[in-house]
Amino acid sequence: MAFEPWQRGEIPGPIKAVVINKPEMVPALVKKAKKPLFIVGTGALRDEFNGKFPIDYAIRIAKGGNIPVVATAQTVVEFKRRGFTPTARMSLMEIGGRLTDPEWSVSDNGAPHDLVLMLGLGPYYMEWLVGSGLKSFAPHLKTISLNRFYQPHCSWSFPNLPVEEWYKNLEKIAQGMEKK
């Protein structure tokens, strides 16, 4: 599919996300980062495929890369049901705002973040807007959207993908992160 926003009217501006053609890029980018962070929202509880949900991959990616996770809204419940405890629970707007502070880190006394992975941050347009806020006001960060649909304000994003292809990509990323 073309590299265009999923919701047709959500045209950003001249600077748009680089498309992730090869999912292997993602583990490489994460491994290069000094202090990555993974934000997972309620969108990760939708779009079931073959008995799996995006949150299942989020857990593998986070564990594989030892990435701290911020769960938004009630996503935390599903994490815990799966035996995984996120580093923090925050509201999406709160974590978005926090990340504009170049000194802030989710772990006490930790180094500030330089890379943020996002998955399912509410409805499509909410992730779109938070991506936009970070693009302009968190210049110290790079952002990667693992959403099924193109998120033009992130530094990197998938294009709009059919669900099975998206899951294949999530699998490859999880495998890449799990490789020691």
Partner: protein, 784 residues
């Protein structure tokens, strides 16, 4: 002294002979018993310092909805990633300017509405018509007006002075948005607050004018229950539909019917705030539903005549009305809709042209005439139209559904990304259930039916409505008519428990119907907090959505809960312009209960409310510019507002940093020393991702520095309980809200204590300061 306009229909003197002459003279504002406060009629810069205090605590988090600015011909300018436009403006200033633009439009809309209303009511009832919003029960009749302007309005004419002031301020606010004016985002934000404050004054003018003249319920907790829902409309009668916010033409319809004995033979119903206000006038009128019901109701063909006034009317209403052969009457010069102005023509001629279909509609700028025309046309045309509709029968829905190619073009334009193709697939097999389930989450925007979207020429929204016939027939609910103000005596009763925190909060469900999911989320939230014995207020579309719900006993929340301003009450104040009764209740707590001086003493009262009145607004489906200005009026009073996910498109949040201890110090007015009060309330404006998150935010944002230990324990109990229910665990920030051991809810002591230990919590040495942000209110200093 203020200026006023005087109109003479005919003036004859030795020097001039003029008709319709209008000129201005100075007018002395009548004095009244309360001593004037420091800031009568504040200008755009008067409260800059106060605003900056709030904006230091609650920092804007900007969410560019577009990277470009295209306001002037230097543009388009790309402002992303730290760039500045050709005029020097950066993205933060641009976004705050956009918020200001939105709030100025909102304030101007209410102010324009109020001006129009006051002029019309003066023409009908006279300049000296007294204002009365609740008789002996409401001595403090206009809290926002008195607080901001210093005027105590007694008659309709007094309201003109108030509007003169508001109009001046709105002009200055709007002019600040011009290229090459304000350049600092925080100063823009301060102007945003100013727009909100002016908006509440303007709305108050409109509502007290209509309450005083039309005999609306006057601060009545037992205002009658009226009918709401499409299923309530009696289609066997001629049906008149009114849409908008300015009620006088609808009142004239009701009067004409009453005067001609037609009350029981014609059905009058409405959408949006005109509907709410009409049911405050006539309990025979019915409410169809909120703004999102426009397309579905018009297309259902139930309405034989459609009468529109102003605001939130679909701008394609002429086209839509024509599709079902329903004549349209526009009653407002703000909203001609391209129709011919027939105000000067005879009623007989207009009726004939509409009934014979010679014109699609007419503009009639005389409410009385519009009322008569509407009734006569409805009576004459109903037998001809035979409820002509464009919503298909179920069998036709099934046939249409078979054409779907699953291209997802409709989904990609749907604001709520509804799963239309999946629902159509089921429908094509004869199962209409999934399609009809979309009915509750469809905001009725019609974007899925836009020209060129569907390659198979399917009209998804229309099919959703077609599949929902049974659901619609069952849409019969009850809503309490808007009661208007809160009585002074009610404030006296609840003032203390609110300020101490023993009533855990006042939650106001307000705003429009651009919901992120089913509208039922609003009544679910409202019922939850009513059961928890919060005071729950509501207005506008949210008030309708609350009514459109039945609990396990088949009752609407308005039947289940009392309409009094008390713990566990559910108070429908009325339409959009009734919102100042909610801000007014907070103001009255400071004035009536705490005896703070009210008159033109905004800063002190806002400081009181911010630190002591645990109120929070929830605008779950906010969509409009008016909604943004209503919210900003609450912000300047330091009252937090939560919006639904679509509210993130307002482009900025106002967020506190609970991890920054320095941000949460207040001054203890008793000693002048600074005291740590904790992050209360934590945010001033935040979009929640889900209803569950909003329900956890509400009790949290109701906490205030003045809570007694008992009050704080009650508030924490709700916060922890809801957090556990929806997030499955104890909140990890409880330690920030526990000031002393006595704050901990008894039943939760062990686990909370364990968390406090883990967090290294220490008891607050001064857990109950007399909190203020204003050094001038320190008593020790002034006494010394």
């Amino acid at each position: 002294m203020s200026k006023t306009r005087i109109k003479f229909d005919e003036l004859v003197t030795d020097l001039v002979k003029a008709k319709g002459l209008e000129f201005s003279v100075g007018r002395i504002i009548k004095e009244w018993e309360e001593e004037p406060g420091p800031t009568p009629m504040p200008d755009i810069g008067t409260f800059r310092e106060w605003d900056h205090k709030l904006l230091t605590k609650y920092k804007p988090f900007y969410l560019p909805w577009c990277d470009l600015c295209c306001l002037c011909t230097f543009g388009k300018c790309d402002l992303s990633k730290g760039k500045r436009g050709a005029c020097g403006l950066d993205m933060k200033a641009q976004l705050s300017r956009f918020v200001l633009l939105s709030c100025s439009i909102g304030a101007a809309t209410h102010c324009g509405h109020a001006r129009h209303m006051v002029e019309e009511l003066i023409a009908k009832f006279g300049r000296d018509h007294p204002l009365d919003v609740g008789g002996e029960n409401v001595y403090l009749e206009a809290p926002n007006i008195r607080l901001v302007t210093g005027i105590k309005p007694r008659t309709l004419a007094d309201l003109e002075d108030v509007l003169d002031y508001c109009e001046t301020e709105i002009v200055h606010l709007l002019s600040s948005c011009h290229t090459g004016q304000e350049g600092d985002n925080i100063d823009f934000e301060s102007k945003v607050f100013h727009a909100g404050m002016i908006d509440h004054v303007s709305m108050e003018v409109a509502d007290i004018a209509q309450i005083s003249t039309y005999g609306f319920p006057k601060a009545d907790p037992d205002a009658p229950l009226i009918e709401v829902g499409m299923g309530c409309i009696d289609k066997s009668k001629p049906v008149i539909l009114v849409i908008g916010h300015n009620v006088p033409p609808a009142v004239e319809i009701a009067d004409y019917m009453r005067n001609h004995g037609l009350e029981d033979s014609i059905e009058v119903c409405g959408i949006c705030c005109t509907a709410i206000d009409l049911t405050r006038y006539s309990q025979k009128a019915k409410i169809v539903g909120p703004i999102s019901f426009q397309l579905r109701f018009v297309r259902s063909g139930f309405a034989d005549v459609i009468v529109v006034d102003e605001q939130c009317i679909r701008t394609d209403i002429v086209v839509e009305a024509q599709k079902v052969h329903a004549p349209l009457i526009s009653t407002h010069y703000k909203n001609f809709q391209g129709l011919q102005d027939r105000t000067g023509d005879s009623v007989d001629d207009i009726v004939r042209d509409l009934v014979e279909g010679r014109v699609p509609g007419v503009a009639i700028l005389d409410s009385e005439k519009a009322g008569e025309v509407a009734v006569r046309v409805a009576t004459a045309i109903a037998p001809k139209r035979k409820k002509f509709k464009i919503v298909p029968e179920e069998s036709a829905v099934i046939e249409e559904a078979k054409k779907c190619r699953k291209c997802y073009a409709c989904v990609r334009v749907c604001p709520n990304t509804l799963p239309i193709p999946e629902a159509l697939e089921e429908a094509s097999k004869g199962n209409l259930q999934p399609l009809s389930e979309l009915y509750e989450s469809c905001v009725g925007c019609g974007r899925c039916e836009q020209e060129g979207i569907c390659p198979a020429q399917i009209h998804p929204h229309t099919l959703i409505v077609g599949a929902s016939k049974r659901r619609i027939a069952e849409e019969k609910h009850k809503m309490r008519a808007g009661r208007g103000a809160i009585q002074d005596v009610e404030i006296r009763r609840v003032g203390q428990p609110i300020v101490m925190g023993e009533i855990p909060g006042v939650v106001a469900f307000v705003g429009c119907a651009n919901y992120p999911g089913t509208w039922k989320e609003v009544p679910i939230m409202a019922s939850e907090f009513t059961k928890r014995r919060y005071i729950v207020c509501t207005t506008g579309c949210a008030a309708m959505s609350i009514g459109m719900y039945k609990d396990e006993n088949g009752q609407s929340p308005y039947e289940a809960y009392p309409g009094a301003f008390e713990a566990g009450g559910l108070i429908n104040c009325g339409s959009c312009v009734s919102n100042p009764h909610i801000s007014g209740a907070a103001i009255k707590i400071a004035s009536i209960f705490a005896k703070r001086k009210l008159r033109s003493n905004y800063e002190e009262i806002a400081d009181y409310i911010h630190n002591r009145v645990g109120a929070v607004g929830v605008a779950w489906g906010a969509y409009s510019q008016k909604a943004s200005s209503i919210a900003s009026g609450f912000w300047r009073l330091g009252i937090p507002v939560i919006v639904g996910p679509h509210g993130s498109k307002y482009r900025r949040m106002l967020l506190g940093r609970k991890d920054d201890k320095e941000a949460w110090y207040v001054i203890d007015a008793r000693t002048g020393k600074s005291a740590y009060a904790g992050p209360v309330p934590e945010h001033l404006f935040i979009a929640a991702e889900t209803m569950e998150e909003a329900m956890v935010l509400i009790p949290k944002l109701c906490m205030r520095a003045s809570d007694t230990t008992k009050g704080r324990a009650i508030k924490l109990n709700h916060y922890i309980d809801l957090h556990r229910r929806f997030f499955g665990e104890l909140p990890d920030d409880v330690h920030l809200f526990v000031r002393t051991i006595a704050d901990i809810p008894v039943t939760m002591k062990d686990e909370v204590m364990a968390l406090l230990k883990e967090k290294g919590w220490e008891e607050n040495e001064n857990p109950n300061p007399d909190p203020t942000l204003l050094p001038r209110l320190v008593r020790a200093k002034s006494e010394g």
